[in-house]
Each structure stands twice: as C-alpha cells, then as structure tokens.
C-alpha cells in the first residue's frame, strides 16, 4: 500500500514538475487530451466551461499565486465594466424626454461617475503591472507562491501580464466609450481573459470580439481542424527548426560581442531579426492553429512585415495587435483630444504652421513609442529604442516632401520592382538597427556592437569555417538557411494572396501525406529540443 502511495506521489510530483509551455512534449499531450474532450462535448456551455477549465489548469501550472492575481484582476475588470454598464443604462433611462443639450450635460455627468470606476480599475491593473516591471528592473527573483512573496524572497510574475493588462484596459475603455457592452457572465469574461492560447504571448485580443466568438463555438469540422493542425505544424517548424537554431549563433555573438567583428556581427544582427520573426510569428501560428482547431479566430499579429515599404507600414504588419492597441488607446485619444487639437490650431493661426504640424505628429507618437518601449522592457535600451522609432517616423513624415523631390529629380520610378525591393530592404535594415539597441541587454552593449561592426571586416570567417565554430556547425547553418528560404517563399506566396494550405489541400492524398509526415518528422529530428538544449523559451513570452 505504502509503495502504491509512493508511486502515485512520484507520478503526480513528476507530472507537476513538467513544464507546460507551447513547445514542450507535455503541452502536446495536454492539448491532445484537451481537444479530444472538447470535441466530445456537444453543448456550448460545456465547451465554454471546458475551455475555462483548460485555461485555468494551463495557467495554474505556472503558479497558483499568479492565477489568483489574474482572477482578482478579472473580477475587478468585471465589476468595473458592470458598474459602468449599469450607469450607462441609467443614463439611457433618464435621458428620455430631455433636449440634446441637456442629454449631453447629463451624459457628461454619468461619464464622470463611470470614469471613477474606470480609473480605479485601470489604476489597480497598472499598479500590479508596474510592480512586476519594477521588480524585474530591480532584478528581483520571481517566485511562485504567496508565502515566498510575503517572506520577501521576490515577486510574483503572473504569466502574460503585459498581454492581459492591455486587453483588459482596452476592454474597460471600450466599455467606457460605449464601444462595447459589458459582459454579464463573469465566467465568460474569465474564459476570454485566461484563454490559454493567447494569454502567454498574445495576440492582444479585443475581448469584445472574443466574447462574441465564445458565445457561438462551432462544431467539429474536419477541414478546419486539419487546417488548424497544419498551421500549428508550420508554427513549430518556424520556432523549433529556424528560430531555436539561429539563436545559438546570435546568442554566442551577443553575449560577448567584443570577440566578434565585421561580418560576424552583421550576420548576427540580420539573423537575430529573422530569429525574432520566426520565433514570435511561429508562436502566433501555433496559438492561431490551436484556436482554429477549436473554431476560434484569433486576431492576426503578423502580415509579412519584412515586405513593408516604410517604418510606419512595418508597425501595421509586425505585432499588429500591439500597434492597433497603442493607436486606438494612446495615439488617437491624444491626437483627438480637444485641448490638444485647439492648441495646435492656435499655433497654426499664429503662423507657426510647421511647428503645429510637427506637434501634431510628434506628441502622440512619442507617447505611443515611449509606451511601446516601456512595454517591451524597463531599461534605458528600450526607452532609446522607442525614441528611435518615434524620431524615425516623425522625420519620415516631415521630410517626405524633400524625399519626393529627390526622387523626382533623380527620375526614380517608384512603381518599379527594384525600388520596392529597396524599400523592403530599407525597412529590414531599419528594424535590424533598432534591434541592435536592445539585443545585448544594455546600451553599452549596443555601442560595442557598432564599434566591433566596423573594427574589422573578418570576411574570411565566411570561408575558413570559423563561422561554424560558435555552436552552430555547417550542417545546422544550412538547415537554418533552408528554413529561412522556405519561410521567405511562404511569405511571398502569402503576399501574393495565395493560401498555401489550400494549395496543399488540392494535392492528391499521397503528396499531402508526404508533406505532413515530412513536416512532422522534420520537427522531431531537426527541432532544437531535448537534453542539452535549453534556449527554447519563446522570445516574446518574457514581456
């Protein structure tokens, strides 16, 4: 009997010690069990509760204390939204029979009351978030239980706090602005908030749309499930074969940049941008695929960003949901703020047209970019990184007439492919330069990178094999390159509006299966995982 208890304890302890991250084997088992039961359930309500249960289990795995923080946050959001909602219902009732002017006055009154709830809730959410960020800044250890936290050993870092904080604030503002209706069912709100495919790394979902989808979950559909699985497979290829392979080289360079120079640095910078893209978009494909299997559509987070023609366009294609969030909840509120509008108009009237235009462009942008920078990280490197993008975009906008003039003087045809390719390359370069600010973890590191970039060219390292001596040997480099080429081809197809999954589906069964088995076993064999490999946590999960 005692040995049985021991065995059960060993088994449970063992299972509990496993990591439940998207790229672990254990997660696949978890997902398999989760989906099997999900499809066995017929009723909407049962499905919803099962999703909530799955998400809570997934979340609890990273720490029970963190789960309580999330549920507490969810309760605050629920209460604040409900309060604001009931205030607006009150207003709707009261406004009957009033004149439009009186209605406006009455509305302002109600809005003022609603604002109190909004600000309180926002304050609480932001307070937790800032506390966590500050803790990271002070390099405190992250702990998993309240007792450890109380004994002052570190901070509790709720999984995906940067993502759900933005989503909840967005939801509260939407309710406040009456763009969205407050959800009455608290369990539904919890389900959307903790939904395990999006809580770790986004996309930063609009709860409004998620809630609607949750109320209308579709039944099992063979084709949809297949497509979802294929998307997951592609995500795993990007993450485990490309990104996790490239990071071995880039990490070697960025941890001790003073030992590298010239082409080695250049290559590391280029590869680290590709690595970040493969990692982050790979993860989005995995979670998007899981959601698709269930019949939920997550917001797109990437749309072939490296084909963008300008920095501004880039941010509408890279981490789209973050860009959309900052635009909707920071840029527009500032740009449309009556006082700000009045101020810029005044400037224009006073004959300071350029000044006014600059202010109009710069002030909301700097707010957006300071926020984006701080969202990514609390160090100076991320603040400078934010400023870099802000200045770049402002200059691009302000200097556009000059640029246009140069183009017309040089008689460059901007419609020609070569010019468009140049624009894409330019965007990539801009992004890569931006990455250099943050990639070493400190601004001094960035300075070293620039210094070493021009210290020597070291072109010979490409030929004498020393390139392959930093952890990634020649064969592995080739695999990574092949992966990059395939990823590029896929992006080109997508850019041209072709669906690869549709084209695969049109193939005869043997070819389809060969592709599927090929992809599966490519991950099993070429994927970077297993004993001795420890660099595979998702890059964007740390925010």
């Amino acid at each position: 009997m005692q040995s049985l208890i021991y065995k059960i304890r060993y088994l449970t302890d063992g299972i509990l010690s496993l990591t439940l991250s998207y790229n672990t084997f254990f997660f696949l088992i978890f997902l398999f069990v989760f989906l099997c039961i999900y499809f066995l359930l017929r009723k909407q309500k049962a499905k919803q509760i099962w999703i909530l249960f799955g998400s809570v289990v997934f979340y609890a795995w990273s720490g029970l204390a963190a789960l309580f923080i999330v549920l507490a946050t969810g309760s605050i959001v629920y209460l604040a939204a409900r309060k604001m909602g009931s205030l607006y219902v009150g207003y709707e009732k009261e406004k009957e029979g009033l004149s439009p002017k009186e209605q406006t006055v009455l509305f302002m009154d109600y809005k003022k009351k609603a604002k109190k709830y909004l600000l309180t809730a926002m304050f609480l959410i932001l307070a937790v978030w800032i506390y966590v960020k500050a803790g990271k800044l002070l390099e405190l250890d992250s702990v998993a239980t309240f007792s450890e936290w109380i004994s002052g050993r570190g901070i509790i870092v709720p999984l995906g706090i940067s993502y759900y904080s933005l989503s909840t604030i967005g939801y509260l503002l939407d309710v406040f602005w009456r763009k969205a209706k407050p959800e009455k069912n608290i369990l539904k709100l919890f389900t959307v908030m903790t939904y395990f495919p999006h809580i770790v790394q986004g996309p930063i979902s609009k709860y409004d749309s998620m809630l609607k989808q949750l109320s209308d979950l579709p039944q099992y559909d063979y084709k949809r499930v297949c497509f979802g699985l294929q998307l997951m497979l592609w995500g795993y290829i990007k993450k485990m074969i490309i990104a996790d392979r490239l990071i071995i080289y880039t990490q070697a360079v960025f941890t001790s940049p003073e030992q590298f120079a010239g082409v080695e640095i250049f290559l590391a910078v280029v590869l680290c941008t590709i690595q970040l893209y493969a990692d982050f978009s790979g993860c989005m494909d995995i979670v998007g695929g899981i959601s698709q299997v269930m019949g939920i559509k997550l917001a797109d987070n990437f749309r072939q960003p490296f084909f963008s023609k300008s920095a501004t366009e880039f941010w509408t294609r890279w981490h789209i949901t973050l860009g959309a969030w900052t635009k909707e909840y920071i840029y527009l509120p500032i740009a449309m703020n009556p006082k700000f509008v009045k101020y810029t108009k005044q400037l224009k009237k006073n004959g300071k047209a350029w000044h006014s235009s600059f202010m109009k462009a710069f002030v909301p942008l700097i707010a957006v970019w300071l926020f984006t920078g701080l969202w990514h990280g609390t160090g100076w490197d991320y603040i400078v990184w934010g400023l870099y993008w802000c200045i770049l975009m402002t200059v691009a906008k302000e200097a556009k007439p000059i640029g246009d003039k140069i183009i017309s003087l040089l008689k460059i045809n901007t419609e020609k492919p070569y010019y468009q390719i140049w624009q894409s390359v330019r965007t990539c370069m801009i992004f890569a330069i931006g990455r250099m600010f943050t990639v070493t973890g400190a601004l001094t590191g960035c300075a070293v990178l620039w210094k070493r970039l021009f210290a020597e060219h070291r072109l010979w390292t490409l030929f004498d094999g020393s390139l392959y001596s930093h952890g990634l040997d020649q064969k592995n480099f080739y695999v990574a390159l092949l992966g990059i080429v395939i990823m590029l081809l896929v992006d080109i197809m997508h850019e041209k509006g072709k669906s690869i999954r549709q084209s695969i589906a049109a193939q005869p069964l043997p070819i389809r299966w060969i592709i599927y088995y090929g992809a599966m076993f490519a991950i099993v064999i070429l994927g970077m995982y297993g004993p001795g490999y420890d660099a595979s946590s998702f890059a964007y999960g740390a925010f």
Binding site: Y10, G14, I15, S17, L18, T19, T24, F25, F26, Y220, Y222, D473, K475, N476, W513, Y516, Y517, M520, F521, V524, I525, L526, G527, Y529, G530, P531, G532
Partner: protein
C-alpha cells in the same frame, strides 16, 4: 465525423507511429566500434536461469574478461556486462537486471573497482543503459538519474535524446536494421594491439609489484560509494557473492587507490584481488608490454590470462559449476563456434608457417582468401610447404618459382582462381604496367574486389582492393587477405615473407621470445629485443624487492654477490661518515680477494669511492683529506666524504642523485643494458659488522 474521415485519421496515425518507431531505431546509436549496445542486447538472447557469474565494470572489464573462454576451459556459464566507463549506478542496476533474469543460477558478481573513483557521467550512463530492456529495473535506474520527469521520457524515446545525430549518421546506422548481434563473445570486446607495437621498452610502465602501504588512501566518489553499498546490500540479501577485482592498468591505478579499495573491501568483508600488485600480477603472469593494448585496456592475450585465473577462482571458491555437456547449455556450443570465429584473427596471428595458415582457413567455411605475391615469395619455400599447397589444390603456388607473380583466390575451401607469371630480367619501362597480373571478382555479399600481383621484374607490387579500399600489406612475399563472408568484414590482412624465410615470427611476442631462447640478442627482431629489455626491467624490480626482503642490514657481501660478475650491471660505492668501525678481518680479507683493495684497507672516517663492472673493479679511491673526494666517469659523478672530510655521499647518474646517503657504504646498482638504476641501498658498516659466514661457507664448499 464521417466514417472515411475516421478511417483516414486511423491510418495516418498508424503510419506516423511506424515511422516514429523506425526513426527511433535509426537515431539510437549502437557504438558498433565498441559494441556496447549489441553486447548488452545480446544478453537478452540468453535463456533465463543459465548464468552463474556476471562481470561488471568499465571498459577494463569489457576488454579483460572473456566469458566464452571461461566456458571452454572451465565450463562456467558467465556474462560480461561491463560497459565503457560504466557508472556505479549502472553497475548496480545491471546487477538487479541480471538477477531478474537469472535468479536461480546466479552465484557471483565480479566487479572491477575502478569506477568507484568517478560519479555518473550522462553519456556513459546512456552507453550502459540504453540497451537495457524496459522493466521496473530500468525505470528505477532512470528515475535515479533524471533531474525531472521530462528527462525520464527522453530515456525511453531515443529520438528525443539522439535526434541531434541526424548530421552525423553513417552507413552503419542504416545497417542496424537486420544486423546480427550474436558474436558469441558474451560481452567481451576482442582487441589485439599491444604496447610493444608502438613503444620501446623504456616507454612501457614497469610494475612496482609492491603496494606502498603507507600511501594515503584515495578519496572515492561519494555517489559511486552509495551505489556500491547498494550492491553489497543487494548481494547480501540475495545470497550472492560479490567479488572485487582491479584489472591490470599500471598507468591508471596506484597504491593510494589500492589502499582505498582495500579499505572498502575490508569494511564490507569482501574478497579483493588487485592484479596490479603482488601476488596476483604474477599469478596471472601479466606482462604489460604484450598484454595491454595501450596501457589502459588488456588485449586478447591479457584477457586470456586473467580469465584463466578467474576460472580457477570461481570454480574453487564461488561454487561455479561445470555445465559442459548439460543439455540446458547446448546453446553454448553455438556460442563457442561463433566466438572462435570471432577470435580467429588472434589464432591466425600466432601461426608461423604459411601452409599451416592456409590450411586452417582452408578448413573453415564462409571465408574468402585472396593471395598475391610482391617481389618474391618462392626462395625460402620448403618442399613440405609446396606439397601442402598442392594438396589444397593450389597447384601454381606449389610450383612457384623465384620472383614469380602470383594470384590465388580460395572461396569456402575451393580454389577458384590461380595465376602465376615469370620474367627473368628487368623489362623496359613502357611494358611494366602491362606485366602486372590482376584479377577481379565478387565476394559472397556482393562486394567487389580486385587483386594485383607483380614479381620482382613484373611490377613489384601487391594490391587487394575491396569496396575501394586497399587492404594489402604490400611488402615482399605472400600477401594474404582473409574476408569473413558471414560477418562481411576483412578478418585478417598479413604477409609471409617466404622470399626470405620459410616461417615468420608469430604475433604473440611472448611466445615468440620463448621460442627464440638462446638466440643472440642482436639477432632478435626489434620487437623481441624491446620485449627482452622490458622483461629485464621487470626482473630488475623483482630482484631489488627480493634482495630487500632476503638480505639483512649486515648483508653487504651477499648483496654484492647478486650483481658481481654480471656484465650488465655497474656497482657504485660511496662512503659517508665512517664505514670502517665494524669491518672485521674476515670481511677485509674477502674484499681483498674481490679486488676491492682500498676497501680492505679502509680506516676510521676515510672517504671511499669505487666503480665495479662485471666483477672488475674499474676504479677505487680512498682518502682522508679535509674535503670530500670526487670521481667522474661516463655519465656518473661520485662524491664521498668521511666524518672529517665533509661527511657526505653522492652518486649522480645522468644528472640525477641516487645515493641513499646513509652512514657507511652507499651502493647504487646500474643496469648498463637498460640504462636504468636498479637499486640503491646503504649498509651501516660503522655499527653493524658485515656477515661473512655465507661467503666463507661457499668458499669451503668450493675448496
């Protein structure tokens, strides 16, 4: 879900599972070179409850003990479960696993203690455990080691651990499918190279024979000791005898480690046999020069010696039984047959006569023999040899003339091709390439081969290319390549220089040296010369030990007698302080007779130096000045100072000080053949009179 969709999913998953299984096999390394995986897998082919003794330990065990020999000579059914650097954790769990399968017959576990020094290394743990079948035992072993649960997984699904191997897959990895694991070696790894092949006598470690009992016992690894304790407890519980051994590895085992192992053995009351020291090193007749591959692992000859000793011990002290002829063990006969085929290479190496060599192979099935001649192979062939060739059907070889080219192919005991060519004088350059004889064919497994022969005037070449690789030794004489059709490997490649001599020196150098006894040293082959020198070094050490044991503090004369008159030794004498006080008349008279005139006259507090070679006193100096006296010679400098003359003794040879530096007469014995100091000792003739009785007795006898 529609029915066809269900069916499709089921088929898809089934195919995926089959592919996954196959990929697991592909990615699992089997270390064919060392055969770790195969040898342990082979263990599971053994019928249950048959094995009486299991050998455990690191590669020294793998190379040191041949269970099939134990069966052949003693009828003991045993198995060698050693693996490369086998962590104690693995040794322990293999113990459990062996017991799981042979609980009724197991009587002894023999463990080599070298791994008590090391903790668990993951890669070697894999080598040790990967081939262990899934059972509670393996699960426990993995659980013991794995840091977390996910690691436990990867131990049972090889691709999770070994998927990185995709970039280093070789032909062998694909040949694993359908690979025949049985080789009859029962876990033993066959190796033939020897230290003597690439080292001179002075480079090969000579045993110290005696343990330095004063040496501080080494610290064994804590984790290893934990598993060792578990092994002891397990054996006690199951009533099985645990025997500790240390195989001979002179370069990797010292007195402090011996003392530590001894301590452990005493603590748990276990037998411990250390074959690096007296008496066991002599009991197995271990010779480091001929029995060790590279100083770390024993070769086949060494393994045979140790195995024979163990066979005796296991039979006498561990109750192991002779199972030969027992029906249950009928399978062992097949193993013996396989084994003999496996070690045939060693047997072949010992054959001196080419006709005997061919005869042995001629009688074997499943071999292809390819013979080519370079330069000349006929000059020293005896008529008897030619007759034997003729009997085998090698007509042309039988009639081979001086400087002929010759090609011969024998497959499974049947001569399928023979060709010889003769030319009396040097041909023009342009013709040379056309003169070479060649033949091409296909081996039983489909590999192609091409053989070439050129006698002295016919190209002077030998070549044998199998699958693109030339195996011929390509020196004068009969070049022979033996291909094992069954194992699909070249089994032997050798040459008999029958142009020069009818027989050759066998590969077993020890045996060859015994055969050459009486031959002048200068006429021995280089290898045998080195072996003779090495053996002499060992003898010197033994002699020094014996002298220390047998001769007392008064044995100055007996001591000198041991080396007196031997041309190979130089004796250096140097006095310190005073050596005259206890020298009596008898002693002085004997000195005088020996030619040590000055020593016979030695007075109180005199300085004294002497050099003796082969019984001739080369130099002798005595003095009583204020400073010490010095004597220089070829490679040596001697200094002596009596009490009044500096009070010192120094005997420096090739820049190193050897004098024992004691009061009285200091003696250093130098071996002029090996250029090494054999012994250094001092006799206090101030306090202790020299024993002369034995010498006088001898003299009386002679008179």
């Amino acid at each position: 879900m529609k029915r066809y969709e269900k069916l499709r999913i089921i088929i898809f998953v089934l195919v995926a599972m089959v592919l996954f299984y196959e990929i697991n096999i592909l990615m699992q390394p089997v270390w064919l070179e060392w055969n770790n995986y195969d040898r342990t897998q082979d263990f599971y082919e053994q019928p249950g409850n048959t094995i009486e003794t299991i050998f455990l330990g690191a590669s020294v065990t793998v190379n040191g003990i041949a269970p099939t020999e134990l069966y052949e000579d003693y009828g003991i059914c045993s198995y060698n479960l050693g693996t490369e650097k086998q962590p104690m954790l693995a040794s322990y769990y293999w113990m459990e696993e062996a017991y799981r399968l042979h609980p009724e017959t197991l009587k002894t576990f023999v463990l080599d203690v070298s791994m008590l020094r090391q903790d668990t290394d993951e890669s070697f743990l894999h080598k040790a455990l990967d081939a262990m079948q899934f059972s509670r035992v393996k699960l426990n072993a993995v659980k013991d080691y794995a840091k977390d649960f996910s690691e436990v997984f990867s131990w049972f699904i090889p691709v999770f651990t070994y998927h990185d191997r995709w970039s280093s897959l070789t032909k062998e990895d694909f040949e694993k499918y359908g690979y025949n694991t049985s080789s009859g070696t029962r876990g033993y790894h066959f190796a033939l190279g020897k230290l003597l092949d690439s080292n001179s006598a002075s480079e090969i470690t000579v045993p110290t024979y005696l343990v330095d009992e004063e040496a501080e016992p080494a610290e064994f690894n804590e984790e290893a000791l934990v598993y060792f304790k578990k092994m002891v407890e397990f054996c006690n519980w199951k009533g099985i005898k645990l025997v500790l051994i240390k195989t001979p590895v002179l370069n990797d085992w010292d007195s402090s480690e011996h003392n530590a192992a001894m301590k452990v053995a005493e603590k748990y009351q276990l037998d411990f046999f250390d074959f690096n020291f007296y008496p066991y090193i002599d009991e197995i007749h271990y010779n480091n020069a001929t029995d060790s591959v590279e100083g770390k692992h024993m070769n086949y000859y060494g393994a045979k010696k140790l195995t024979a000793w163990l066979g005796n011990y296991l039979t006498q002290y561990c109750g192991n039984t002779d199972v030969r002829g027992n029906e249950t063990y009928a399978f062992m006969e097949t193993e013996v047959e396989e084994y003999n085929r496996h070690i045939l290479r060693a047997e072949l190496g010992d054959i001196e006569d080419v006709s005997e060599y061919l005869q042995v192979l001629y009688d074997k099935r499943d071999v292809t023999i390819l013979i080519t001649v370079k330069d000349d192979a006929a000059k020293s062939l005896s008529q008897e040899q030619r007759d034997r060739f003729a009997l085998m059907g090698l007509e042309k070889l039988s009639a081979l003339a001086y400087r002929d080219s010759y090609l011969g192919v024998i497959v499974n005991g049947e001569v399928i091709y023979e060709e010889s060519k003769h030319l009396d004088k040097e041909a023009e350059d342009a013709e040379k390439s056309e003169l070479i004889s060649s033949y091409e064919g296909t081996l039983a497994d489909g590999s192609s081969y091409a053989i070439i022969s050129g006698g002295h005037y016919l190209g002077n070449i030998s070549s044998c290319i199998i699958d693109g690789k030339d195996y011929s030794v390509n020196t004068r004489g009969l070049n022979i390549i033996v291909y094992d059709n069954k194992r699909q490997k070249v089994m032997d490649t050798t040459v008999f220089n029958t142009g020069e001599s009818a027989t050759r020196i066998p590969e077993n150098a020890e045996k060859a040296l015994v055969m050459a006894e009486g031959t002048d040293f200068a006429r021995l082959s280089d290898t045998l010369q080195q072996l003779a020198l090495y053996n002499r070094s060992c003898a010197n050490v033994k002699k020094a030990i014996a002298l220390k044991e047998d001769i007392g503090e008064d044995g100055f004369l007996q001591y000198l007698k041991e080396f007196w008159g031997d041309e190979n030794y130089m004796i250096f004498l140097s006095v310190k302080d005073d050596a005259a006080r206890s020298l009596d008349k008898d002693a002085r008279s004997i000195f005088r007779k020996m030619g040590l005139e000055e020593l016979a006259e030695l007075e109180r507090r005199d300085s004294y130096l002497a050099v003796v070679k082969g019984g001739d006193v080369l130099t002798e100096v005595r003095d009583h000045g204020e400073t010490p006296i010095t004597l220089g010679g070829n490679g040596y400098t001697l200094v002596s100072g009596g009490m009044d003359s500096g009070n010192k003794s120094s005997i420096e040879i090739n820049g190193e000080e050897y004098s024992a530096g004691g009061r009285g007469i200091n003696v250093v014995i130098y071996d002029t053949a090996l250029h090494i100091v054999v012994d250094t000792v001092s006799f206090d003739t101030y306090a202790i009179p020299v024993d002369t009785s034995e010498i006088i007795e001898d003299k009386e006898k002679n008179d």
